[in-house]
């Protein structure tokens, strides 16, 4: 807080050097202390703020992965396996998250298993700039469809994955498959919003 209190000069009085020094000291105290109490209510607008002060958006996936004719390779086994479509990993980063920031990861994808009753699990993985990928514990969405042929073996699902963290991260979409069948992913979109304030 920085409020300046001034000793006023009065006509007819002798000018006081101590009053002048007190006033100068008051201004000096204000140096680098300007805060909310100094600013008029709603006195700042968007032009006052630097870019990405409030939030920034990193969005990937739509262009390379959002083709209906594009699907991932077949993933068989426990995994998790990174999802690759059109020669690109469904991955974003590096995302720099400063202290106090929050990062939200959103993912939309369709997945299916080519055998009825097989498991298809979408997983969000992160890499804290160390080259080692880890799964975000709760960011996993599973689908086990019916084994009845008439109910279609090709089941489309949508997952919504998000997480919070701080640091410098890469994020990617991965899949697990638990029945030695083939799991596919189509039309994935992965994006991050860093909320600073």
């Amino acid at each position: 807080m920085s409020r300046v209190s001034i000793i006023e000069a009065v006509p007819g009085n002798t000018a006081s050097s101590s009053d002048e020094n007190t006033n100068l000291a008051a201004w000096n105290t204000a140096t680098a202390s300007i805060d909310d109490t100094n600013v008029r209510n709603e006195g700042l607008d968007h032009g006052s703020f630097a870019d990405e002060v409030v939030e920034c958006l990193t969005r990937e996936g739509a262009a390379p992965f959002f083709e209906s004719s594009t699907k991932s390779g077949a993933y068989t086994g426990a995994g998790p396996f990174k999802v690759t479509m059109g020669g690109n990993d469904v991955q974003i980063g590096p995302i720099v998250v400063n202290s106090g920031d929050s990062v939200l990861i959103y993912c939309s994808a369709m997945t299916y298993n080519d055998v009825g009753g097989g498991t298809a699990t979408l997983i969000l993985q992160y890499n804290p700039n160390s080259g080692v990928w880890s799964s975000v514990g709760v960011s996993r969405r599973s689908y086990i469809g019916s084994a009845v042929t008439s109910l279609k073996r090709r089941d489309y699902t949508v997952a919504h994955l998000h997480s919070l963290g701080t640091g410098t991260f890469y994020y990617r979409l991965a899949v697990e498959e638990g029945s030695a069948n083939n799991t596919y992913v189509e039309n994935a979109v992965l994006y991050a919003i860093v909320v600073a304030h």
């Binding site: 600013v39 006052s48 920031d101 939309s108 996993r140 084994a147 919504h160 909320v195």
Partner: protein
Amino acid sequence: MSLIYRKERAEQGSINDPTPHRDNQNELAGEFNGYLDRYNLPTRAVGAASVVVGAFTTVGADPKSDSVALDSKSTTWQNDDGSGTYIHNVTFTASEDGQLDVDWGGTWTWTGNPTIEATIRWRITVNGQTIAETGCIAQDNDPTYVNTKDLVALAGTIPVQAGPVNIKVEAMIAAVSWYMGTTVGAPLFSITGAAESTVTVVYRELVYLLRSR
């Protein structure tokens, strides 16, 4: 705005009257003590370090992986397993009015092989008001594979006032009869009774953003 307008100006050769000096000081201090604004700052002068965390957006999350076994005999909205393990039941205090965005995603397991149309619905409520709701999602039941899994994502938004804000995610399990007619405005389904299958919710995430500005 201040630091732009000079109220009084001293002239060379005039008597040294303290009044202009005092008025200038008061003008400057008066503006400084609470009336600085955008005109005092260069464009984009305020960087991230100058703004307190949470000034514009409050972010919260409730990631969970514990199991919540829902009551398969109930056909009402359920928020917990009856023993205090909640799907999600989050309360926070909004420091000021704002717009609340809520995202939720989760996975659940069906157990059982019912002879009826077992379904589940999901909804997000904020202070008791529903802001997002799914339709009836049927179990992919068949004779040979009875433990199916499914997943869903929901998102909703609502203005909230300063004060306590409660967010819940609830589910309703029920057997339904689908309405197959073409009458506009007719209900899509009717609940015929309890589902014969049970539902266990496992991996799920609730994320909310309160946007105050």
